[in-house]
Subunit: 88 residues, 2 copies
């Protein structure tokens, strides 16, 4: 069993409205040292295989086909072996 | 300048409807080895300080006061030093 941890974030060239709103809210809370905020998605996937290469392949395919928008977003991930009974 | 990378995810005890929907969609795409999916947020924050402890304190405060819902979500983060001109 493998656990994939995926982060998906808007490309740098694309304006992150949600991040701007959060940045503004943080400044309103007197956290003025925060200069820029970007918001993306974090996804955990449990994959039922004993083969790390297969886990990487499945995670990559899931990102490309479903989870990330390849035009607007960049993704990165790690996979790590977990024991069978491990809950995410 | 420090870059904080924050992940926020629903607590294990709380049903993740969005994760269930993505899990179902992945199975429809014949990725049947995926067993469980949980979806959260990933946030990058640039913090204008030279002091790592201050960066950690600000990130922790931002998570507790604004970014995470302490009843339903768990958060974790890392902070790393970056050069001044580094864009997120």
């Amino acid at each position: 069993m493998y656990l994939a941890k995926i982060t998906i974030i808007l490309r740098k060239s694309i304006l992150d409205i949600q991040g701007k709103a959060v940045h503004h809210a943080l400044n309103s809370l007197h956290m003025n040292l925060v200069e820029e905020v970007r918001i993306g998605k974090f996804i955990e996937m449990k994959i039922n295989t004993g083969d790390q290469e297969e886990a990487v392949r499945i995670t990559n395919e899931a990102c490309k086909k479903l989870l990330a928008n390849p035009v607007m977003e960049d993704f990165s991930f790690t996979v790590e072996k977990i024991s069978e009974g491990f809950g995410i």
